[in-house]
């Protein structure tokens, strides 16, 4: 399947506050199918909060609207979400299979495995260079492996909207490169809007179609070049930060 470029995620005037503390103020953005939109910003800028508001997990004002190619509301929006981390603690026996099988079927994972499910998951994971991880425990995955497995999990049911909260640590350069390559091929081949919170400005510059600079509100938005050359970007990120990526 090729991306249609016509589905659109419209976020209008999202605000989130905890008590008197405004975490997000009037954030608006449009993202299209077949585009990778990166949300960047310093720690505490409200990036993950924005994703959680889109997911409907936290109280917010404003609207999140997903429209079809003719501008009409697209019903039954399927969201794929890649969290920054999992709640699984060290020593958990839960495997990649246990997680993914729990997502695609109600057949309890504590019963005998079904070959059909195993084959489907192995096939799906192979596109993420992760089929060898099927029976590995989640707590034994490296940062890069976990990220690819979570991306595979998020795309299991072909979502319309893919939301990614990139992990801050635990992924080395080659792991990130592999991850962004996979994301790039997903963008080109699948019919979905991709929104990623990223901390790696070098990868954002190379792979994103649009960048949104967030600092509790939208400071700048546009192509990577436009945003990285903007005064707001230079004010928020020192050159040293940018060089570190």
């Amino acid at each position: 399947m090729k991306a249609c470029s016509l589905h659109c995620l419209k976020i209008e005037n999202i605000s989130v506050a905890i008590g008197d503390n405004a975490i997000l103020r009037d954030v608006s953005l449009h993202a299209h199918c077949g585009e990778l939109t990166a949300i960047i910003g310093k720690n505490g800028a409200g990036k993950s909060t924005l994703l959680r508001a889109i997911l409907g997990e936290i109280p917010h004002t404003g609207t999140v609207f997903f429209s079809g190619h003719d501008g009409s509301p697209a019903g039954g929006l399927k969201i794929g979400y890649v969290p920054q981390s999992l709640s699984v603690d060290s020593g958990s026996p839960t495997t990649v299979y246990d997680m993914l099988a729990s997502m695609i079927s109600n057949y309890p994972v504590f019963l005998q495995r079904r070959q059909k499910t195993v084959s489907r998951l192995r096939d799906h994971l192979s596109a993420f260079n992760a089929s060898h991880l099927l029976y590995k425990k989640l707590d034994r995955l490296s940062g890069g492996e976990l990220q690819r497995v979570l991306l595979a999990a998020a795309t299991l049911r072909k979502p319309d909207l893919l939301l990614l909260d990139e992990p801050v640590s635990g992924v080395d350069y080659s792991g990130l490169q592999l991850f962004y390559n996979i994301l790039d091929s997903l963008k080109k081949s699948c019919d979905m809007v991709i929104l990623i919170v990223s901390h790696d400005l070098d990868f954002v510059r190379r792979y994103a179609d649009k960048v949104v600079l967030l600092n509790r509100r939208v400071e700048a938005a546009g192509s990577p070049d436009e945003v990285f050359k903007s005064g707001e970007f230079k004010r928020l990120f020192s050159i040293t930060d940018a060089a570190k990526g």
């Binding site: 997911l55 839960t94 099988a101 997502m103």
Partner: protein, 268 residues
């Protein structure tokens, strides 16, 4: 020597109770441990005193319904505050646990019946009756059906509530269904297991299984095996050594399994 106990009805009933309670505890215990809710179920056990106290004050001849209703309310309230993240989880549970015990003791001492219900502290599995075994069987069947229908969703919520929520799973509702299940099972079993040790029986087999399990399936199967092994060996041992109370024996054997598996755990 090995099967002499079978001639006594109370031992046959206790045997049936163990093979019904341990699978129940295994199903709940694995998720309690995975969700980091060991203190939650402990506090729930402590709240049983208040449930009994309310039953006594209301003059009910059968205090179990009062215990179960109070435990459900207690569990839902504790869960709500736990999820609000306004205070750290262990503090919230500590407060609830302490208040549950204190209120129960006050109610029972006001009604002058504390000594009558002291047995609730350590329980007595040998006192279980046939009708109670039927009730346990129904509970086991209900929890088994719930697990067959909902386990994967419970599992996903345990792995990542955010992912579960993004897939349209009603996380809050299922979380409440889970704590209600724990509340009901704990209240049904506390009379035979005792509030001092019920939590140990719930979590020790699961905690031991976690050391050596390699998947969700082996986790549940090993928890079940460890639970049944401890339960039946504890029962057999206490029969042959009348000085050893059954409940504490079961917990001690589970404790030994925990430490043995700790040294066998896969550290790679």
């Amino acid at each position: 020597m090995l099967f002499g106990w079978w001639q006594y009805e109370f031992m046959r009933n206790a045997f049936l109770a163990v093979i019904l309670i341990m699978p129940l505890f295994a199903m709940l215990g694995t998720l309690i441990v995975s969700n980091g809710m060991a203190f939650f179920s402990d506090a729930l056990g402590h709240s049983s005193l208040t449930g009994v106290g309310i039953g006594v004050i209301l003059g009910l001849s059968e205090y179990k319904p009062a215990m179960i209703i109070f435990a459900i309310v207690f569990a839902l309230l504790m869960n709500r505050i736990r999820n609000s993240r306004l205070s750290s989880t262990d503090t919230v549970i500590g407060v609830f646990s302490a208040c549950g015990v204190a209120l129960g003791l006050v109610l029972l001492s006001v009604s002058g019946s504390f000594s009558r219900y002291q047995s609730l502290l350590i329980g007595d599995i040998l006192s279980i009756t046939k009708s109670e075994i039927i009730l346990l069987t129904i509970t086991l069947a209900a929890i088994l059906i719930l697990w067959l229908i909902c386990f994967n969703r419970f599992n996903l919520i345990s792995i990542s509530p955010e992912i579960a929520s993004s897939r349209g799973i009603p996380v809050g509702l299922l979380d409440n269904v889970f704590v209600i299940s724990v509340a009901v099972v704990v209240m049904l079993a506390i009379h035979w297991v005792g509030l001092l040790l019920i939590n140990a029986m719930l979590i020790l087999p699961a905690a031991a299984a976690r050391h050596v399990a390699k998947s969700a399936r082996s986790y549940l199967v090993l928890t079940l095996i460890f639970g049944l092994f401890s339960g039946l060996l504890g029962l057999w041992f206490s029969y042959h050594n009348s000085f050893a109370a059954t409940g504490p024996m079961i917990v001690l054997i589970s404790g030994v399994l925990y430490f043995v598996t700790f040294f066998l755990r896969d550290n790679r």
